[in-house]
Symmetry: C2
Subunit: 320 residues, 2 copies
């Protein structure tokens, strides 16, 4: 073929490539919405995609079953040289945080690892030690796993987890009511810089205590930053929000900008009837003191006058 024709074909090819939509052209929320929009749910499904966990009917009267999967990817959620045991801890702690965000108790986990085939065995063994340490710390059994390898692959550690929760303790993202107070556990911001994203404590104990003693209207865990996660919860509730910027608890060295954007806080974000907050804050103080602290950061409103902006966008931000 004459080189001119080849050149023309290349231009046409480039044009058609330019027209087709690629993953980095759209956000994760839009992608998930497109992928899961057409899914048909069986009658045993109480809550499908969209909340921290899927919720299913249970054979045990008064209880619900939970199911969640979470993945961490090399050079996105951890760096190649990072302590393997800390990486393993993170991989297990993230879905534990999602079980907490439903008010639940974790039951069992299965682990999928995909790596380069020339990876050192010691690294994989380190990951597993961390996975197992987190599993034991929070009473979940690692009941199975799979490993696969490829010549060219970033390491991937995926953990799927089952859990259970009493019907009256299960809290969804969608239940926030106008007038609710919005609260957050712990402090936010700077998780990546400080290394907290590798050794955080999933708030299982706190979430169980909260849902056992108080009627939360909505609940989620903060993984993509307040500016991204709070609007998600309010959108699912059909409400807006008003945040008191000065009340947002920042980690030392972090400011509001960091809190809004950094992500990976793994703290609980929830809403509760305004007039229950005084009793809640007092009971929390007796139970947990200031570790972690509990802060009222705003309220649920009909509309959002000052939207938060920022937050982690999986396909559009550069990898971290």
């Amino acid at each position: 073929m004459p080189s001119f024709q080849i050149a023309v074909l290349r231009v046409i090819e480039a044009m058609s490539l330019g027209e087709s939509t690629r993953l980095h052209d759209i956000g994760e929320d839009e992608l998930i919405a497109r992928l899961t929009g057409g899914l048909r749910m069986g009658e045993q499904v109480i809550c499908g995609p969209g909340d921290d966990c899927a919720v299913l009917t249970s054979g045990k009267p008064g209880w619900l079953d939970l199911l969640k999967t979470d993945v961490i990817v090399e050079d996105v959620h951890f760096r190649s040289g990072e302590n393997p045991e800390a990486v393993g801890w993170k991989a297990m702690a993230r879905p534990l945080s999602d079980i907490a965000a439903m008010g639940g108790i974790p039951t069992a986990a299965v682990v999928t690892i995909v790596t380069a085939e020339n990876l050192e065995l010691a690294v994989v063994e380190g990951w597993y030690r961390g996975l197992q340490r987190a599993a034991e710390a929070f009473g979940v059994s690692v009941v199975g796993g799979e490993t696969s390898s490829s010549s060219a692959v970033s390491a991937v550690i995926s953990v799927a987890m089952t859990g259970r929760v009493e019907k009256e303790c299960c809290v969804y993202r969608s239940g926030a009511k106008v007038g609710d107070a919005i609260l957050v556990t712990g402090k936010l911001g700077g998780s990546l810089q400080s290394g907290r994203h590798l050794n955080f404590t999933p708030r299982l104990a706190e979430a169980r205590w909260l849902t056992k003693h108080f009627k939360l209207n909505s609940l989620m865990d903060l993984s993509d930053g307040l500016a991204k996660d709070l609007p998600r919860m309010m959108k699912m509730s059909g409400t807006g929000y008003r945040i008191d910027n000065s009340a947002v608890p920042c980690h030392t060295g972090s400011d509001l900008e960091a809190v809004l954007n950094d992500g990976e806080d793994y703290e609980l974000l929830f809403s509760i009837k305004q007039d229950a907050t005084a009793e809640l804050l007092s009971a929390w103080q007796k139970q947990f003191g200031d570790d972690p602290k509990l802060s009222v950061i705003g309220e649920v409103s009909e509309t959002t006058d000052a939207p938060l902006s920022g937050g982690w966008e999986h396909f559009s931000n550069s990898p971290r």
Copy 2:
């Protein structure tokens, strides 16, 4: 630092790298044994790693819960240009085959996808159509999922699945007894060449029928080839085996060599008391006819005089 010192350091580094064990130095079975050997199981765990699914107590009297995760990796389990919908079907059908291999009924699935961030959206949407088609065909709900991307990554599709099974229908790999007949459903070999690995039917209906009507002693699905999977089941049962090579059902165009080595058959391999086989074969013929066929291929013995050799080794074979 003088360049000589740097060179010496590089040599030392290379030497120590050479001495450390890497994944491709050991087989998948050894790796899994090393990783899962120290795992501690909670009291709700009836069967942890090692069988086709993990088995857990259920809140529903008379029933058991099943949990499984399975992953397919680009250039290992499928090729980049392959029909995305067929790839999605395969990703869902594999754990369905594992649920079948416990005699179970699938309940819910969660899907994790990791891809390059410049992948075309249409490819991911094609995967999802295939995942959903398989899910609907076998009554499992896709209740959640996650997507993540990296700049350098082979595509990974991981599916975790829950299921359930009546206690009396649950069959493990470890129950084979000396004297049992060994049977296999369908025909074996040539799955990759023929494309069957992308559109196979998980044997859920057949496994349910078998475990409802007959007392199988051991059961698994064939994924890594007869030469690899049969010895695994016999090892877990503490038995040996004797295979009648001429009785092994080969697909057209395949021979025994292919059957032993190819893998990805996704047929059922099981053992049952010798004197139940005549009744079983006759009842099978009435129920399923010759599609799939059912073949007696050997018997469980105390020791193995003629070990099968071959089969797919995840970390040592070249990727496929």
